[in-house]
Symmetry: C2
């Protein structure tokens, strides 16, 4: 069973139960060659902290001595490793050397019998240069073998491999069919040639296609991904496990791995590394070591660096800056930058997992930042949901200090002295009505100055889109004091814009959907602000406290009277998570909603969205924030679906 502990978009920290205890992901599984041990498994566990490794059951099975020993004492005793052991099945050997001499059912039984924690189907390695027909046939064989293996697995977890070469539809179809089979882990296979050829952009397509089809409650393993350069990018797309023979292979060729790429000892003029393996050695010492000693040192360096990168990624998921980390890492090589650009192709998919807000600010690192799902989210919601205030004119400011309302305070006040105006800022994120200036990611983002061409072009496009949509009689770009004279001459109506009310309306529609503001604000509206910050704190309508605004991201938390209005006005399943009867009493007590008890959920719910927990008759049970999407809630068998803030007692 796999449990989601924390997530940021598709990236996640999870916990996989195995016969040898829980394995936290993201996890890197060092490859241990049973015939050529570079770093002893016990050291991997004790010194490095690797809680899982992968070894090859095909090699063990074909080596009479290893075979006998594995059957006799079991895999864990044979390797002297107390953690989780995954085994591969010989598929990679077929990629390297052609056919292998083993049948799927035999290798599955062998893995099971020697005590493997996670065994692997003997899938067909689909090469990137294969025709679509040949690939489709191979995928069918892989799926048949997976069905067969699932029947034999017993207590062993089973890895069912997604194949399909570079054909996105075949990958997605394979993944979808695998989701129906009783397997536990999903490696994405056949990708080593793509990584070896630096075809990282194609790798992106393969991962995304696979993720689209897979069951979200199973961990995804990127087979053969062993270079720390790609871990962050793959984790961002929801890969939970990696494995690496590279640490040892690279070491044998005197190659040091870094998140910024590989460095060959021969090309290096110095080492600069303070990892436990390198720290007490100079470049000269390393260069003058005997080959075995040097391989041992570099392999450990590669493992330390890989482990540090996995931990760095974990930290980024927890702290909400994985996008920034990935965008930095992808500057290691132009082929990775190509891959980063390829993410733009998948931003509709990525947006479905994009949280409502993050703790960390969004930092611009380059034109690729403009393709982030957070910007697509803003663009879509703004143009679909925003209701323009009925002023006569609109004044557009350039990007400026944040929050924009404070930065342009004086200009706004001047205009409003004589004019029925509303205000926009031409931000790289999109057209920002002044009242949305505190909402994530508007206030919580930083762009360099001056902007690059791609940013200028995006601003231009977005403002052009706005110009086709907006209902103002007149729209002008702010051009200093002269603008005020122009406006004073042309504007006929007195000022009507109320920024506080506009903020409540705009955030409500953006967050809860078009028309939410009308539903929530029907009656006499009172807005309470913080005396210290001047920010909106609470919204009362006809004396009832319906909304509170969060200072950090500018979004609302719902109060029960507000929820009652949305329940009444919006038909199910909108904004709801419906729970099963036996959970209702617990949730009414304020306890969290667990996945196992979710009956249905609004498919439009995004992580960190404010949701209403309801019973099967659509009665309000609790209020809280969704941690998962609908598909995730219905798929996971354990873990929290909604973090409940307030139960509604009967």
């Amino acid at each position: 069973m796999f449990e989601l502990i924390r997530r940021d978009g598709l990236a996640r920290i999870g916990k996989l139960d195995t016969p040898h205890g829980p394995l936290e992901t993201p996890a890197l599984l060092p490859v241990v060659n049973p015939r050529l041990v570079t770093v002893p498994p016990r050291e991997l566990y004790d010194a490095f902290g690797f809680r899982a490794l992968i070894t090859n059951s095909y090699i063990i099975r074909n080596d009479p001595k290893l075979n006998a020993r594995a059957r006799e004492v079991g895999l864990h005793a044979m390797l002297d490793y107390p953690g989780v052991i995954m085994t591969d099945s010989g598929t990679f050997q077929s990629h390297m050397y052609g056919e292998v001499e083993v049948r799927n059912e035999d290798i599955i039984a062998f893995q099971r019998d020697i005590g493997t924690d996670i065994g692997t189907v003997l899938d067909i390695f689909t090469e990137p240069d294969w025709s679509k027909e040949r690939t489709a046939e191979a995928v069918d064989v892989t799926l048949d073998r997976t069905v067969e293996a699932a029947k034999l697995k017993d207590r062993m977890l089973l890895a069912g491999v997604v194949q399909g070469s570079v054909y996105e539809d075949l990958r997605e179809d394979c993944a979808r069919r695998l989701a129906l089979i009783d397997v536990d882990v999903h490696p994405i296979g056949g990708v080593v040639p793509l990584m070896e050829q630096y075809r990282f952009a194609d790798l992106i397509d393969v991962i995304v296609a696979s993720k689209k089809g897979l069951d979200p409650s199973r961990p995804v393993h990127l087979f053969g991904a062993g270079h720390p350069m790609v871990f962050a990018l793959a984790a961002l797309l929801g890969c939970d496990m990696f494995d690496s023979a590279s640490y040892a292979k690279f070491a044998r060729d005197d190659r040091f791995m870094f998140p910024e790429g590989t460095a060959s000892l021969g090309d290096m003029k110095d080492v600069h590394c303070h990892c436990p393996a390198c720290q007490s050695h100079t470049y000269r010492e390393i260069a003058e070591m005997g080959p075995a000693e040097r391989t041992a040192l570099i392999a450990r360096h590669n493992l330390w660096i890989s482990m540090e990168e996995i931990q760095r990624i974990r930290r980024a998921i927890l702290e909400g800056d994985l996008w920034e980390l990935v965008e930095r890492r992808c500057r290691a090589h132009p082929a990775l930058l190509s891959a980063l650009r390829r993410l733009g192709k998948h931003r509709e998919f990525l947006e479905r997992f994009e949280p409502l807000s993050r703790d960390n600010s969004m930092l611009y690192t380059g034109p690729e930042t403009l393709s982030r799902p957070a910007l697509l989210r803003y663009e879509k919601r703004f143009f679909e949901r925003y209701k323009y205030p009925g002023t006569e004119v609109m004044v557009a400011f350039e990007e400026g200090g944040k929050p924009y309302g404070r930065h342009y305070q004086q200009q706004i006040a001047q205009v409003l002295e004589s004019c029925d105006a509303h205000f926009f800022v031409a931000s790289p994120i999109g057209p920002v009505p002044i009242e949305l200036d505190e909402m994530y990611p508007i206030a919580q983002s930083l762009f360099p100055d001056p902007p690059d061409l791609e940013t200028k072009e995006r601003i231009r496009e977005q403002m052009e889109h706005l110009s086709h949509e907006h209902p103002y009689a007149l729209g002008v770009a702010w051009d200093g004091e002269a603008t005020i004279d122009t406006l004073a001459m042309m504007c006929r109506r007195p000022p009507s814009f109320n920024v506080d009310l506009a903020r409540v309306r705009a955030v409500a529609d953006y967050q809860f959907g078009k028309g939410a503001a009308d539903l929530l604000l029907d009656g006499k509206v009172e807005i309470k602000k913080s005396e210290t910050t001047g920010k909106i704190r609470n919204v009362l309508v006809s004396g009832e406290h319906i909304l509170s605004m969060r200072a950090n991201d500018g979004f609302f938390t719902l109060r029960p009277p507000g929820a009652a209005r949305l329940l009444k006005g919006f038909a199910a399943p909108k904004l709801r998570v419906a729970v099963k009867d036996d959970a209702v009493p617990f949730n009414r007590e304020g306890k969290n909603v667990f996945c196992a008890f979710v009956q249905e959920c609004d498919p439009e719910v995004r992580p960190m969205d404010e949701v209403m927990v309801v019973d099967k008759d659509d009665r309000l049970v609790a209020l809280g924030r969704a941690l998962l999407t609908r598909e995730e809630m219905l798929s996971f068998r354990t873990g929290i679906a909604v973090k409940v803030r307030e139960g509604i007692k009967l």
Copy 2:
């Protein structure tokens, strides 16, 4: 005395002689507060390997106990530190707390008397918000005090501080006047507020203005730069020394430094660091430590990370990928990205130090890469020096695989079957005639696919420039087979293009200057190629071996008969380094040219340029590659100016 050991552009590895032995740069000097020692100086030396530190003579002088002790046993014994000790003078205290109660001559004498290795003038800290007048007056005072201090320094090295606030002309003028005073190290002062306010773009202007005025043979110290986030960028601009109190200050606020920025323990959800300080501790252990213990740990973390970054930069200078490192580092924060863009303003200056080629490939990391001096170099030399072959038509290909000639081999052959054509590639680097496809950085560069808008725009501009300049009767963009039909119809002349001869001509003009090819190739030209690679190896004219082509960067090395032709055809000082009489016999023996013996040099010589070493009568003495620019050769008193490959015996 300061010696340049290695360089990449303005960045350098150097060696500064001090009373306590040589100090290798780039160097970070941890700040040791004599009243509040966070990490003992002995540990800085022994465990971390810091060979220099900086402490404050003003604090020591004002503390009766420290004052007495320093006078009695000397600074080194007092601090128990065997390395190089630099002292500050109280200037920063004046920035922090207003006036200080000490006179320049007294603090200089005090520093000298307690055995400081590098003492500092009591300069006036020019604040970024000062008026130009006030700044100019303060700079005059600083310069007067520097003159005074230089008389008092004795064996102590003296640091003469560049001031001038954010006024580039004042900075440059101050630097120029300092260059005339007998000081040994040049801190750039008054920059801490810029760094604190993340005004890194303004910091770039200040550093460049200072560098323009300073004597290149003295090390430059960026005063108060203690964050590893800025080291690479500052080193790229020629800063040799840094100092950091931040490691301890940040530690007291529970802040971890990384090259990617600062992380506060309170915001961090985990640590991921394997530095010697962190590696045996979990996040929880660190969070639960007592404040003193935690500060001690984080200070050491900050020092390890800073030291590792200095060593990383050193490696990058040695290996030729500092630009790539800097461009990656500047993705840590949009304010650093703004600074990276500001480099574009200074690319003419940077180009003067840009080497002819590097061992490492040029990797594109974003639009800012297009402002690199290597691209400006190509653009300038191509449009100034390139002589078009006299074909009737020109075919322009899009960017493709490299080398271009091989990638477009088939298309080129097809066109040449019926047409007098020449070929260009519309590369992001500029318009590349097909015969320059092996020359640095054309073949030795990688760009992502697809290109971003800024790259497309640059290509468009460059090709438009080409279209205004080229002499072909017809220029067409390659558009598949159709192009061949069109050309066959319009072209009237038979093919005349000889790619080998064109390559020799184009590289010669690009490398040695306009007209070089005509001088070198006057006679019967024979081109010898490698049998294995098919690349040009040697060029003979009228039976004399005049040039050899290097496989790695596609440039020529000169042979004596070639040099004779250039000497005859190009007037001095073009391509020459003239040496003093007493060096001539040594250089004729093939020994390197040392700075002290350089009489004159072509101001157009760039690092790694092929040069002719001549005597005062312009007779050829040796051939080799320049390591320095003219100003550097004439300024340094030690170190190699020209790496001689071949002496010319009489």
